[in-house]
Structure formats: C-alpha cells, structure tokens
Symmetry: D2
Subunit: 295 residues, 4 copies
C-alpha cells in the first residue's frame, strides 16, 4: 500500500448527463477523461464534488465508477470519492471502487447530525478495515459540515493503517503548517482549494486536487513544474496568471463552470442537475473571455 505515490496535479472528472438530464453520457465522460490525461495530469479523481457524486442515484454512481476506472485503464492512478452519510454505504462504495480497480479512495465524513471525534475516527476505521487500498482523508467543512482539526487528522492517520494521504480544503494555510509541524513532515498533504494553489505548494503540499485541468491543464502543470524547479518567481507569475480563472470556477460552482468551459472548448458535457443551474449567459461570456487569454 505504501508504495503508491500520488503527487502533482490530480484532476477531477465531471459527470456529464444526457440532454434530458436523466441519464449519464458515458461517451462525453470518456472524452473528458482523455482530455485530462492528454493535458498531463498526474492522477484522476472521479466522482468528487465536481463530479456531482452527491446528486447521483446509487446505480448511477456505480455506473460512473465502473466506466471511469475502465476508461482510465491504469494509464494513471485513480482516486474515487466514495463518501456518503452512512458508514455502511461508504463501505459498500469503497469496496466497489476497489473491486473495479481504483488505486485509492477519497473519504469525506458528512454531517447531517454533527459527528463527534470518536464517531469520525470509527467511520474511517470501519472503512479502512474493509478495503486493501489507501484512503485519502478529505477535510472540507464547507460542503460536508464536518471540520476535522489537525489533531484529529493526525490521530486518524496514526490509528487507521490505510489512511495515508490528507486532502485539506478549508482554505486555511495554517492547517497545512500544523500538519507538517505535528507530523514532522511525514504526512503527505494535498491542496483542495484552488486559490491557495501557490501557497499550498510553498508550504510543501505534495499535490493539488483540482477541476481546473479540464480547462487549463498546461498552466496547472507548469505551476507544479516551477515549484519542482524551485523557481518561486516563475511559480508566482504562473499562479497569478491563472488565478482569475481559478476564482471564477470556484465562485460559480465547479459543476456549472467546468461544464460551461468544456462546452466553450468543444466538449459538450451538458449541464448540472437541478436545483444547481447552468452557468448564466453573463457567466458564459466572462468565462469565454478568461479562457481566451489563457488557452
């Protein structure tokens, strides 16, 4: 398990719906995966927030997982998001992903009822015991309602063997500092907040989980490259160049903005599921302008 080394740009896939919004457009999904890989990402993350995983029925979730893993076909490592409100369903999904070839799973604890630290730890332990692949622990209070302090993350990392990576999406760089200090540099952490890409790398993040490579994979990759080359001035310049787009896709909601951007760049991937709306006309115009300066 420990031999898996995820790093660099980890690209989220979208989930394209058919024009009646009722089914999955697998052909478009395949093309979007191919674009990510052609763009140079270092790993693929199906069914995360961008992939509207939370908006799918269970058969749809399985269909997308199976297809995505088969389509990536080991060209790159795949990390499948398997999060659900209940422990039982999270386990079922994790096993499904493992059985269909995922290299790792991503697990975000979700609160309807607030969870105690013991409940969160037990959740990870229960999932970990049922699978043989690594878990990327994912902290994102804005979407999940659960905020795991660094001390709890450390405890889960230490007590659950297959939790081997941490994705931090609070947007608070101090969390990464603390992770690094408390673990003496031993916990690999990944940034899940687009506008923090530069600073997360500066702080030592091993990778950047992002939907942006659906639209600007080269710029994303060059930023990572500049960091590897220890060239802060170049990294800064590359970061500020792409920041307006990173801000835009985040504020507009990733499924709506990324699907709009794919359409603008020639890949029809439909629109998000209601109540989430398609990007507005004004939004399309702004996005087109942004993409025009960057691609």
């Amino acid at each position: 398990m420990s031999s898996l080394s995820i790093h660099g740009i980890i690209g989220y896939t979208i989930t394209p719906f058919t024009s009646d919004a009722d089914g999955i457009d697998l052909e478009a999904l395949g093309r979007s995966i191919d674009r990510l890989i052609a763009g140079g990402v270092h790993a693929i993350a199906p069914l995360g927030s961008t992939g509207e995983g939370a908006y799918l029925s269970e058969p749809e979730w399985e269909q997308v997982t199976e297809f995505s893993l088969a389509h990536v076909d080991k060209r790159l490592p795949s990390i499948v998001s398997v999060s659900d409100l209940t422990t039982a369903k999270t386990i079922r999904r994790a096993k499904y992903a493992e059985a269909h070839g995922a290299e790792a799973v991503m697990v975000l604890p979700i609160a309807y009822w607030k969870l105690s630290e013991a409940e969160i730890l037990q959740h990870y332990r229960a999932v970990g015991e049922q699978i043989g692949i690594p878990i990327m622990l994912y902290n994102n209070p804005a979407t999940s309602g659960v905020d795991m302090p660094v001390e709890l993350i450390m405890r889960i990392f230490n007590e659950v063997e297959n939790v081997t990576m941490v994705k931090e999406s609070t947007g608070d760089i101090q969390r990464m500092h603390k992770l690094r200090l408390l673990s003496e540099g031993h916990i690999p952490f990944y940034n899940g907040c687009n506008p923090l890409a530069l600073e997360a790398f500066a702080a030592g993040a091993k990778g950047w989980c992002t939907a942006a490579p659906n639209l600007i994979p080269e710029l994303n990759g060059l930023l990572y490259q500049a960091v590897l080359e220890n060239d802060l001035n170049k990294a800064r310049e590359l970061f500020y160049r792409q920041l307006p787009l990173l801000d835009f896709i985040l504020k507009g909601g990733l499924p709506a903005t990324i699907k709009a951007g794919l359409r603008l760049t020639g890949l029809e991937a439909g629109v998000p599921r209601l109540p989430v709306s398609e990007l507005s006309e004004a939004g399309y115009r702004q996005l087109k302008e942004l993409l025009g300066t960057l691609r």
Copy 2:
C-alpha cells in the same frame, strides 16, 4: 389548501431500526406515533431530521412514509419531510407523500454546491407545481448548508402558492421578528429550535416543531397552553423546567438522545445509524436523571 391550520406542538417521529440496523422496525414506529398522539401533540411530522430521513435508502424512505401516514390515519395532520439534494427526487417524494395522504410536506433546500436565491426559488416552485397540498418552507442552515434570508423567504411565500408556512430553525429570534414585520403578521411561522421555545411563542410563533414530545409531551403542551392563556409567568416557569432536557437532546443529537429516552421510558426503538453513535453510558445516566425530575 388554505383551510389547513397547523398550530401548537408538532411532534417529530423517530425512525426505529431493527436490531441489525438493516431494516425498519415498523411496530416500534407505530407505538412511538401512538405515544405522541396520546401525549397530546397537535400534528405529526414524520421523517424530519429526528427521523433520520437523510440516512435512509429510497425504498426505506417510502416504507416509512407510507406506514406513518397509514398509522396516523388522519387522527392528526401529518407533515412529511421530503427534502433531498436534487429537485427531481424532492418532487418524487412530495408526490409520494401526497398520494399516501399527507396533509402537507416540509421542504428544506440542501446544498452540496451552494445555491443562489434564484435556484432556491426555482426549487420551491418546481415542487409546488407538482403537488396540491401545502408546503412548509424550512430554514435550517446548520444541517442543510443553505441559509435563506427573510427577504428570500418572503419572496418564495409570495410567488409559490402552496408555500403557506415557514419553519425557522436558525435559532435567531430576529428572523421571526423580521418575518412578522415584513409580512405584517400574515406569514404563519413555526419554531424549530428547542431552546428558543419560550421566546418564539413570545414573538408570535404559531407552533413548535419538536422531538421533545417523544419524552415530555405534557410539559411541551402545557407551555403552549400557558401561551394561549396569555400567562407569561407560567410559560416562563414551564419553559425553564424543561430547558435542561431541551438543551440535552439538542446537544446530544436528536436521534441518539430521543431513542435513548424512548428506551429509558419503555419503548425500545433501537439506535441511530452509523456513523452516528448510540448515546454514551454517561449520557444515559444524565438523561435518566433529567427524565426522572420531569415525568
């Protein structure tokens, strides 16, 4: 539609699971509903937060809805929570509840991706157009991630015909003040925050949606009665008497504390679904003591 008048104590049902946590214990559900009715509540609200609606599979959700409505059997009005992340599934559930005899449905917009005001309005409109029974709009940012300001609630109330009631669970009494002032007293509002029961009634709330009547229905009813009798001193005294229990069940998580309380008072209703844990032993002891002084 406008002839429906929900008021007073609106009791939430729990959803008892079988001992293996895999199925629904309908017999216990029936008994818990009978207890609520015997305790004097004025309406029944199946499948709300307390009912762990978010933790059920779709077939389970339908099973609980159908059974609850049949078991209440029009002895009291029933308001079924039909909230879901997608508009399509919310509509399907609302129609299901209506078809099985619900007097009203409760709709809480839920955010994985943040929703704009236009998206929220459209969500209510889409649900409203598909059913012929009233909707209780429900605002609870702590569990749903969506906070609807009073101005938006007013707009939805004015534009969607069957939105005829508002349940406010932010715990911020100023929201109720504003609702009353802006609507000139025309929007009936209901309190969904237990420790605000006294003040919400003081501010003019028409009802109190609460899980507490599973345990202390008489005290809940007497508080409402004192308000109807315009006896503030008595209402205050009754409120402070039950407040420690109201605080306890809220802080401990309603499914865990109410199920524990039911067990302590002779109705075995199982435990919540993981990752939500059963009440701790210390919690049981504290709850037993609290109940001892109140029942």
Copy 3:
C-alpha cells in the same frame, strides 16, 4: 450594597458636543437627562456606548461624569460606565464616579490584546477592591472584543463581592437562559440589546438598558409595565410597535441616530465625533417618519 435594586428601563444619556465639536454642551446634557427622567425611566446610565465615552479625553470624561451625577441629583439611581483598556484607568474612573455620587458603575473589559479568563477576573477583582458601590458586569463582544462565557460571568459574580448585576448584550438569548439556570435565578440580569427587549423580559430579565427612552420613553415603559402585569399579548403588541425604531437606532449607530432623533424632537444635541458621522439626510427622513408614528 445589596440594598440597591436596579430594575425596569435604564436610560442611556448621550454626550452633546458644542457646535465646534471641541467641547461638551452641558446645558443640552442637562436637558436630555431631564427628558429621560420626565419620560419615566427607572435609572440613568451616563457615559455608556451611546454616551461616546470612548471618544472623550480624560478631562471631558470627568466633566461629564461630575455634571451628570450632580444633575440627576439622586432623583434616580445612576450607573456610570467607567470602562477603559487599562485596569489602572478603570479604577481611577470608578473611584471618581463613586466619589461624585454614582450608585453603581458599569464595567466592560476591553481587548486590544485578547484577555484570558484569569486576566478578566483579576480586572474585576482589582476594580471591586477599590470601590464600595456595586458593579454591573457588562458583556458586549461586538464593541469590546471580549466575549465572557456564562461560566466566567458566574465565577466573577461569585468571587468579586460587588459584582451584583450582569448586563448581557451579545443578543443571544441562550446566554440569559444559561445565567438563570446556572445561578438558579439568583443573578439579576439586564438586557442591553434593543431588538431582544421582548424576549429578554420573557426570559426573566430584570431590566432593559437602552438609549431608546431618549426618543420613545412611554412605549419603552409600557412594554415593561405589560411584562409586570403578566400580559404577554400586550407586551408583544407593544414590542412590535416599537421594533422598527429599535432596529433603526441600532443599525444606524446609537450616537448618530439618538442625536438626530433629539434634534427632530426639539432638543439640539449636536452630532457625534468624527470619524463617526451625523445621520444622513435619508436617515433623518426615515427617522422622522418612524417617530411620527410612535410619538
């Protein structure tokens, strides 16, 4: 000390500046105090937030304190705000107020550097030891940067003999509930948040510290009277009638709105000190309309 019983409507005074904003207009101050007393308030609180105490030089502060106490002349009890960043200056002011006849002082701990609970307790103890009159502990994080949890307030109340009253201005009614429960009703608490007036009385507040009686003393007094008469319906009606004005003066900033209201009702009291501006023209119009319906 224990014989002092402050209750009901506690009216804040404003501090009128001369037209060049450089000095204090004592004549206007005297008239404003007389209006408060004629309006029926139960106590006078000079130099609180409304009195712009924080914006005065030390000689000005002493001048206003001495004049106010002499002018009230024991017609009603006076509670003088003596808060300052340093303990030494707070003590100096408290002694000054006592020496000039104050019945009590109000003390709000202020943070530039965040204070620990031990530091706050020590601050109250140091002030308490130097004076022989009661202290009203004042909690108002929005203006002071210090939020004292109820447990700390209890501790100070229990450990510092002359802290005998608590003024709560967080706007969170649960603080009052907790104060009442933890002290078993033994700590007299006062409400300092205008839009919470009804609920604070419902929760058992002994008084309402407010600048509103500068403008609508009768309505303020009638609300308190209705509570004393245990008439919730009447209290609710009176509260909602004055709420738009209470909201207005709070949101507009009390010194600006109260001084504007005094001018509109015939008492020229100047304008606040810069950078706080006079009420805008649109604000004057709105305030005039509000006052027209209430006086």
Copy 4:
C-alpha cells in the same frame, strides 16, 4: 513622497515600563531599538500593537514617539503608528510624528461604533491632508473591529495621495491576491500576520511587519533573503524552523511574549500593563526552550 521604499523586515518596538509600571523606561527602549537595528531589520515601527500604544496616556505616547525617532536617528526609516478612535486625535499624533522626523505613519481605523466605508475613507483623507509623509494603511479587524475589504482599500489608495502602502493583517492570503490582481501589482503590500510570512512573500508581499526580530532577527532576515534569491526550498525550510516561535509569540500576546523573550535574552524590558499579564511561568519555560533551538 514616492521615493520612500519600505521593504523587507519591519521590526516593531516594544514599550518598556518602569518597574512600578507607571512610567516609561527609555533606557531599555533605546537598547531594544539598537538590538533591532543590529539584527538587520530594514525599518522600525514604533508604537504598533506590540508597542502597547493603545495602553498609553497621551503624554506617554508623545514621549515614546519623540524618543524613538531621536534614537533611531535616521539609521533606518521609521513608521510610527498614530491610530486612535477619533479622527482629531489621529491627526494630532500624525503631525507630531511627522514633526519629530518619522518617515511614514501607520493608520488603523478603530471602531467602537462601526464605521461605514464613507467614514473610513473620510478618516484617511482627513489625516492625509494634514501631513506631508506617506501613510501605511493598516487592516487588522481582530484588534480594531474594522475590516476593510480590498475594494475599499483600493479606493482609499486611489483617492488619498499619501496612502502609498498597505499592511494586511487579516491572515487571509486571498486579500493579498486580490490586492495584487485588482491593482495590477501597483500597490505595495506588507504582511502583518507572522504565521503567514512564507505565503505572503510567495504571494509578492514587499515586507513583513513583525515583532519577531526582537528575538530572532537573523532567521527573519534569512527568510527574506531566501525569497530575494528565489530559493523557495530554502525559504520553506527557514520558515518552518521559525514557525513554532512565530505561533507562540502570536498566541501568547505579543507584548507579553516579546517582553519575556527580551528578559530571557538579557534585556530587561518589564511586563505589559494590566489587565494584560506577564507571561506565565510555563510560558517562560516553553519560550526559553524555543529560543534555545533558534538562537
């Protein structure tokens, strides 16, 4: 005015009190300034938060300003904090600082009563019109109660000629991103949040305003040097080495921790003014250990 170029490490001075806490220990102040200069800082900032400016009487403030400027004696540029609640006093202080040789002043708007954007702008304009040296606009909502959004900062920068520098202390790196993007790199910004030192430099900050050089000037300077040399790996390593101390001095309150650190390193500078307490014994031990590994 535009020829002033502040950059690099800007060191805050402390204000040492005499042993009875009643007066200023000018001799110790002089020695602490000499240490900062010997340590290699690029500018001196007297009377900021660390300097307990808010806790001084007006004569004390003037005494410290005059002495500090005379003692620096143009060896480095001096930026004097002149912030006060009222505009009038802020102007008086700014003129005093200019008259005694300050190269620039730092202005933080302070709220007792919340300030509108127009009031804040007018405050800066009024100060700017009265002096002929540059103003460093300072945003620090945690201590001042005023949070200036980037758009307002831009407006002030554009409309008030001598506002030529911005110090950002929210700790939110996105503010710096936005400043840079909106100003197209034309507004020089400075970081005032110690644990953000690395990321602020990564984002393009021109300097770091910090009390840390009172204790570890070499490490602070080396971090800046690494950034100038475009060596991200070295900057990261240097940052993490000093981060535990940076966290410690911030969380413990700068006046208390810095004065303790000075004492531990041979410069007796007394203790803070009450209610702010001296560092605890446990704190001294922890600080001694931290300093032992860094000096």
